[in-house]
């Protein structure tokens, strides 16, 4: 692990969960655990995200929810399995900095109990495929050495034939995955960027090369891979920079075993700008021409987005990824301009990715 957990806290009602007890056993070798009354911590500083404290707690709500897409842009119909919030990495652009009002790394210890109910709901839904991911509100694998999600989730996937589970990460914490016997309907995805953005903006994350070495290991071990170039950031020589990443990708990964690659240009809630300026005063990620999008988030002006997507599509096509490249939360006209085609609506995009999954995993 490339980061330090200085303090671990077992919050009220968490101690009875086996998941929490196992995590505590692993934690005791390098940090302290104490029970609390469950009160939220008093924030000393509104910009201190307290990434060195791990809190284990049960989540009171539904753990599985559809991705909060908006009507104005095409959404892929992903389902988010909320296994925890916040992330030990410290990417300057991370939307979570302004998304959650509670600091610390939070891991939900009642995942196993909820999975039972989720499984029943998925079974009776009649839907052919559920693409589920755990990497929206946290990194899917960053805390896996402690909490071992990879010991819990793959067996759930094995028991539910209409589930495809994606672990989305920037880390190289793949030991848990490799030691698992499950491969079917599991996608291991890496979030990629240009080498210079990875080095200057993705603090605490392994280099692109290291991520792709880990991807190669997973691919050799039989895992299906995915990649996410999100956020694409307009920066000096961005074309050369992103082309370099695709060169490294070419060196380590066989494109024929890649299920999908998403592209998304940097976008942020307006409130994030102040947080980025405060936490990363040297960052240049906000240099571009951002305008309010139809969903209220700030986005690059359309021609910039279209040019970046179009460039990436071409390069990824040259690499061998002719199909499976899609845009995350984009408008139909940008799809059309950049990729030369467009799903009619979010359902169309969802169907497209379901078909990719069906083809990759030989689903009916």
């Amino acid at each position: 692990m490339n980061f330090k957990i200085k303090k671990a806290v077992l919050e009220k009602d968490a101690e009875n969960y086996p998941f929490a007890q196992r995590a505590v056993e692993r934690l005791q070798c390098f940090s302290s655990v104490r029970a609390t009354d469950g009160l939220p911590p008093k924030g000393d500083d509104e910009f201190d995200l307290d990434k060195e404290t791990l809190r284990l707690l049960p989540f009171p709500g539904q753990l599985l929810k559809p991705c909060p897409g908006t009507r104005e842009y095409l959404c892929c119909g992903y389902q988010i399995l909320n296994i925890g919030t916040n992330c030990p990495l410290n990417c300057s652009y991370c939307i979570l900095q302004a998304y959650f009002n509670q600091p610390s790394l939070r891991v939900f210890v009642n995942v196993e109990q909820q999975l039972e109910g989720i499984g029943k709901a998925l079974h009776i839904s009649g839907r052919k495929i559920f693409r589920i991911g755990t990497g929206e509100f946290t990194d899917s694998l960053a805390l896996d050495p402690i909490v071992k999600w990879t010991q819990v989730l793959p067996s759930f996937v094995a028991e539910h034939e209409n589930v495809v589970l994606e672990f989305k990460t920037k880390t190289v914490s793949i030991e848990g995955l490799l030691s698992s016997t499950y491969r079917d309907r599991i996608v291991v995805s890496w979030s990629l960027n240009s080498p210079s953005i990875a080095a200057t903006e993705e603090h605490g994350a392994p280099s692109i090369r290291k991520r792709l070495e880990a991807a190669r290991t997973c691919q050799r071990e039989g895992f299906t891979l995915g990649f996410h170039f999100d956020p694409l950031i307009e920066h000096p020589s961005w074309k050369d920079e992103y082309a370099r990443t695709i060169d490294v990708l070419d060196h380590f990964v066989d494109p024929s075993k890649v299920i999908w690659i998403s592209l998304g240009c940097l976008r942020y809630m307006p409130s994030l700008k102040g947080v980025i300026r405060k936490r990363f005063p040297e960052s240049h990620i906000l240099d571009g021409e951002f305008v309010p999008g139809l969903d209220g988030k700030m986005r690059y002006i359309k021609p910039v987005r279209a040019e970046m997507y179009s460039f990436m599509k071409e390069k990824l096509g040259q690499w061998g990824m002719e199909r499976g490249v899609y845009l995350c939360m984009e408008s139909r006209d940008v799809w059309q301009k950049a990729l030369g085609w467009s799903p009619e609506n979010s359902e169309g995009l969802s169907d497209y990715l379901d078909r990719r999954a069906a083809s990759a995993f030989a689903l009916p």
């Binding site: 924030g43 509104e46 201190d48 906000l286 021409e289 305008v291 309010p292 999008g293 139809l294 408008s331």
Partner: protein, 324 residues
């Protein structure tokens, strides 16, 4: 803390300092109304004073009343001596604070002064937990630090904050800047009499350009394009203010501004019927134009549509962003 009014005394105003002393927190006030009140009905509530180590009196509460009496030429003022009743400096400070809190709203400089004074007597944790909520501030150490930083700003900036002439969001940006930039930006905001929204835009553009181009505000604003605006005798002050903001916007958003200009030109070149207007998303994110027609009855609408239909230049209206 139980309050006792203490002993009544006649305070010699000539021997009373004009500064607020260790307990009071009034800042950025206007004495005119208070003077008028005292002139009309006299001093209704006597100030509270306490003897200090030098033997003279510090004002505990009623600093503005003392200044008003002085301005009215009074030589002495009836006050309550609370030296014994409020024995410690903290008790006196709290008496001043709670008296004000119950009767008026603090401006941001007054909040800063109070927080600074409290720091001498109260632990930071207690300030955060007990006093900041009373000042309608979040209990964050960052917020406390920001308010304390306000006291390091130039006096003129502090005055403007006290009078609520510049927004607290702008003050937040100013406290993080180099002194040179701080002064230059404040001078421009002051000179151009920007409202709060304009101040924020102005600061945001300049900060964005500073980071992107590694160009500090004093250098940027002495560029010819800005000097030209400021020296243009045909522009009045509000027009200069708008022109400066537009110059900054063009610099910050060159491609967007160019595209907006192209669309605006194309739309304005169409001789639309008076009752029709064409609208579009100013950020050109929504790909659609919107046509609006005002009409009283169907015949008017048909008439407007047929005149629109006959307009050849409508076909030249380009798709947004493509120019085609």
């Amino acid at each position: 803390m139980e309050f006792s009014r203490g002993e009544g005394i006649h305070l010699d105003l000539e021997k009373t300092a004009d500064d607020p002393g260790p307990y009071t927190m009034s800042y950025g006030f206007n004495l005119d109304v208070l003077c008028e009140s005292i002139r009309k009905v006299g001093l209704i509530n006597p100030p509270l004073v306490a003897r200090n180590q030098e033997g003279s009196f510090d004002v505990v509460s009623g600093f503005r009343r003392i200044l008003a009496l002085k301005a009215l030429g009074e030589r002495n003022a009836f006050c309550h001596d609370v030296t014994s009743a409020l024995a410690s400096p903290l008790e006196r400070l709290l008496a001043a604070f709670y008296e004000n809190l119950a009767t008026r709203k603090f401006n941001d400089m007054e909040k800063a002064i109070l927080l600074h004074k409290l720091q001498a007597h109260v632990a930071t944790e207690e300030i955060l937990a007990s006093f900041m909520p009373l000042l309608s501030l979040p209990s964050h150490e960052g917020t406390l630090k920001f308010y304390l930083k306000l006291l390091h700003l130039e006096e003129s900036v502090q005055r403007a904050i006290g009078r609520e002439e510049i927004s607290i969001k702008v003050a937040k940006a100013l406290v993080e800047m180099e002194k040179d930039s701080q002064q230059v930006l404040f001078q421009w905001i002051n000179l151009l009499k920007y409202n709060f929204n304009q101040q924020l835009k102005f600061i945001e553009y300049i900060e964005d350009i500073r980071i992107r181009e590694t160009l500090a505000a004093p250098e940027l604003l002495t560029e010819e394009s800005f000097l030209k605006v400021m020296e243009n005798p045909r522009l009045n002050n509000p027009q200069k203010g708008k022109a400066v903001l537009e110059t900054l916007r063009l610099r910050r958003f060159p491609r967007l501004a160019q595209a907006q200009h192209a669309v605006e030109s194309a739309v304005s070149a169409i001789s639309l019927p008076r009752e029709a207007s064409i609208h579009y998303d100013p950020y050109l994110e929504n790909p659609y134009y919107r046509l609006e027609i005002n009409f009283k009855h169907g015949k008017d609408l048909k008439n407007a549509i047929s005149r629109l239909h006959a307009l050849p230049e409508l076909e030249a209206l380009p798709e947004l962003w493509t120019g085609r």
